[in-house]
Symmetry: C2
Subunit: 223 residues, 2 copies
DNA sequence: AAGAAAATATGAGATATCTCCTATTTTGAG
DNA sequence: CTCAAAATAGGAGATATCTCATATTTTCTT
């Protein structure tokens, strides 16, 4: 992890200003952190000292269960907060946050800004929106995971992440995200290939029948 | 549904004042609604005109999937909001909200108060807390549902809802809530009885081995 | 470049959970 | 009080998903 200083810092502060998220300035004590792929931005179970705002890159939220299973709760993208739960709650089990790519965050020291932020309507409005979307997303994922088999959820995920008709996510990550075993994921992918929805080439999968996948994923959606 | 007027209304407004949730008064246009058990406070897919605050009673959030399955997303208790998603978002698929008991809500007409509320730091702070807890809860339920079999989740649910050592929730509701089939729920309950964790009497279940259930439910928890 | 660790692949058998069916009991509306 | 609807109950077979085991390939570290 690198903390930007001097020019490198001010460059970032200017280029990606986030002053519009706050009523009062937060530049004074703000830091700019750069994390490399696979770095832990927050270690599970350890309270962070900063409220982060992701400027560039993306990350993953993990939780480890007592039975050893690991869940990838969600992805975090640019313009999202990290550490907001700890800002709001004194007691909270902190999830692990790992950078998926090189990730640059603005880091606001909580002890400096907590009080100010909790009285800042502009900031609270932003945070409220962010949390409301998060809550809705989680609720949808939850009910979908219970109501539909992997086939549907995987089809949806493939369409969401495919780039130019090509799906090439790491199986290991996808298992954690969709909450199924490696074995089963492979099994359903093979079915998709047998049905000619996908065509495998090395470790990439080419989408051959977009409509079929779309059909499977549509079933998840309300309206 | 009944709308309280005159004395009945002012009685409630005084007895359960919620002025402390807001910086500016909201009494002027506020209504007091009473719903009977099983009434729909909000019909699925229909935008509500009010932001509700539950004063008394409790309710359930439902969503119907395209395959006909129904999920009970969560319970809503006193001192919680309903309709906050529609307050924050112009486009939103509204879930159905059904009263589980007689439920009394304060109802703030959104068109009157939206602007004011979105600039009210005190209110936004409350809402932020509320949403953060909701988001965390959903995330936990989501990952738990993927990482653990019904056995564990049911044990947890039994302990949460048992009253004086007696569990007596409606199977139908529990199925929707835990996202399993009626058949399977019965199956696991029977197992609990065979293992002597529970003892069935009519349609009640007496908890016989608290520790065994506790053990099963503890596995879900982090720290 | 070599060896270790991580990721990919696949088989085989176990189990958690579902669907469909049918019967009985309880609840609610008129 | 009566009938229909809802809730409870359990059998039987299907299937979605898991665990374990093992082999190969790729990636990372030194």
């Amino acid at each position: 992890m690198e903390i930007y200083k001097a020019d490198k810092k001010s460059l970032y502060l200017e280029k990606h200003s986030i002053e519009h998220l706050f009523s009062a300035p937060v530049k004074a004590f703000m830091e700019v952190h750069e994390y490399q792929r696979d770095d832990w931005i927050i270690k599970e179970g350890t309270r962070p000292d900063f409220l982060f705002f992701v400027v560039d890159g993306n990350a993953k939220i993990y939780i480890t269960h007592q039975n050893g299973k690991v869940s990838l709760i969600n992805f975090i993208n640019a313009k999202e907060f990290i550490g907001e739960m700890e800002l709001l709650h004194d007691v909270y089990y902190t999830k692990g946050i790992q950078a998926s790519t090189k990730t640059i965050c603005f880091a606001l020291p909580m002890h400096h800004y907590r009080k100010q932020l909790m009285e800042d309507a502009k900031f609270l409005r932003e945070l409220t929106r962010f949390l409301s979307i998060k809550a809705t997303q989680m609720a949808m994922k939850y009910t979908q995971s219970l109501a539909f088999p992997l086939e549907n959820r995987l089809a949806d995920f493939i369409l969401q992440t495919a780039d130019n008709g090509v799906y090439k996510e790491k199986h290991v990550t996808v298992c954690d995200y969709l909450g199924v075993s490696y074995r089963h994921l492979l099994h359903v992918l093979t079915q998709f290939c047998e049905k000619q929805y996908l065509q495998k080439e090395g470790r990439k999968y080419h989408i051959k029948q977009y409509d079929a996948l779309k059909g499977l994923s549509q079933v998840l959606k309300n309206k």
